[in-house]
Amino acid sequence: MTDATAQIQANYMALVNRRRLYGGLTLAVFALLMISGFNIADDRNAGGFWDGLHNIGDYPADVLSEAWAKRADLPGLLVKYIPALIETINIAAVSTLVGAVAGLFLSLLSTRGLARWPRAIPVFRRFMDLMRAIPEIVIALMLIFVMGGGPVPAMIAIAIHTAGALGKMFSEVAENADLKPVDGLKSTGATWSQQMLLGVIPQIAPNYLSYALLRFEINIRASAILGFVGAGGIGYELRNAMAWGPGRFDEAAAIFILLFATIVAFDQVSSRYRDRLTKGARA
């Protein structure tokens, strides 16, 4: 071994030791913050974390035992709540569709190299930030206050959030699109919409569809949650069943089963299609 190699080894060891020191310090700070944060939260809690921890299984146990006791009614209850479930899925589907179309326009308007008005890119970007920043539930509560309860406020609320979220993801995809076809179309005197429609969208459509399907899954959950604040659908039924307390736990269990089955089913279907869209059909 030469001196030069020994020198390289010494230098590299010094580098490694420095990295380990930084890594160790980061870990220590992280652990310290986690522990102190937990203690503060625990102090401020009404019940205390450790005192409440052993009660965690009580509610599910109550629901399960009551549902089991009345298991004969379960098939009937499942059928009874299917219309509510369909309403929830409809809210999700319409809002995904509306949100994805809005997101498509927003994304093209806010992507460098593609935007119709390049100077307005920050405006559209901040607009999307705003759409994402306000929680769906807040928009829904405001709309319900104005328009009254029902599926339409929920649909609008979810669509606004979807447009913001998908616009951001779409524009990241569009940034990687090849600009050569756009130049080619521009050279023929095509309008901006024609350039986008023929030059960009075919390139990015598989990724867009894949993200939109993912969003549809998320929106089914969101639309179920919005039911809790009066937007109709299965969430509304679930809140009623749960708020009633013992005696209607069998209904709560039936709704849980429906929700769970729906989400699993859509998850499976959409991940199948997403896989095909991004990787192409299997030969």
């Binding site: 071994m1 030469t2 030069a4 190699t5 390289i8 080894q9 230098n11 590299y12 060891m13 580098l15 490694v16 990295r19 380990r20 890594g23």
Partner: protein
């Protein structure tokens, strides 16, 4: 030593490797040649157990390694190191870390996460890099290196595994002739000095002729030739590549000397 017995791999109704058999009785440098799609890569990947054989057996020193699973499979993989055409390094990590990945089979995930490699291993890694002539690159990111240097880092990672066998899948196919020569010479030196078996997929005849003790020719998944470079006549080579009478060895060459010769032959007096 290594014995391959009627090893077969099918993808659907397509047979990539068709009943390939060969035996090594001492550490050898073997070159596997053939067209792309002849099944060379699949064969190496099956030996390393990156790909599952459909049929057949792989034995090493009498031990059947065809169906090992879990920790015993990973142990076998650490004993037959793999080198890839595209280097397959972790681009954002430094060169020494990439070489130290050769010890992963002996380390726990937790130790790896906190980068706790023993000092002795780090020194060994740099010694190996020195042996391959790239010790100065030690602290750089792998992605910052040229192709030839990256391939030598990959060889260093393989040596760090201290393997019995080195499987090299087209190690020079994405390198220029200069770097190809450096990499092939390094592989030959590893065979000569350490007595390790080196099995090397090559797509050029003269490289295998020049560096290997034994050449295996594959065509459409079958082994159609197995012998010394001297037995590899132009007729046999045409058979392996399925080429016509216009086929010449210089046509597949990436060696600088051959290019010069070919150029000289083509040059027409003015």
């Amino acid at each position: 030593m290594l014995a391959i017995d009627r090893l077969t791999k099918r993808f659907g109704d397509k047979t990539a490797v068709d009943a390939a058999s060969f035996v090594t009785d001492k550490p050898t440098m073997i070159g596997i040649i053939g067209r792309s799609g002849a099944g060379k890569s699949t064969l190496l990947r099956m030996i390393n157990r990156l790909a599952e054989p459909t049929e057949g057996r792989i034995t090493y020193n009498g031990e059947d390694v065809t169906h090992l699973s879990g920790a015993r499979r990973r142990d076998w993989q650490s004993r037959c190191a793999m080198i890839f055409q595209q280097f397959n390094l972790v681009p954002r990590m430094d060169v020494v870390s990439n070489v130290l990945h050769g010890t992963l089979n002996r380390r726990s995930t937790l130790a790896t996460m906190f980068n706790l490699y023993p000092q002795a291993d780090i020194h060994t890694a740099i010694d190996i890099l020195d042996r391959l002539g790239i010790a100065e690159q030690a602290p750089k990111r792998a992605e910052a290196l040229s192709g030839g240097q990256q391939q030598r880092v990959a060889i260093a990672r393989a040596l760090m595994q201290d393997p019995d066998i080195i499987l090299a899948d087209e190690p020079i196919a994405s390198l220029d002739p200069m770097n190809a020569q450096i990499v092939m010479e390094a592989l030959r030196r590893i065979h000569d000095e350490d007595g390790r078996t080196v099995i090397c997929n090559l797509h050029t005849l003269d490289t295998s002729r020049r560096y290997c003790d034994r050449v295996i020719g594959m065509r459409d998944g079958r082994i159609v030739f197995d012998g010394t470079p001297a037995q590899l006549t132009t007729g046999v080579a045409r058979d392996i590549y399925g080429a016509g009478a216009d086929f010449s060895e210089a046509a597949t060459s990436t060696e600088i000397e051959t290019l010069n010769q070919a150029g000289a032959a083509i040059r027409v007096p003015a």
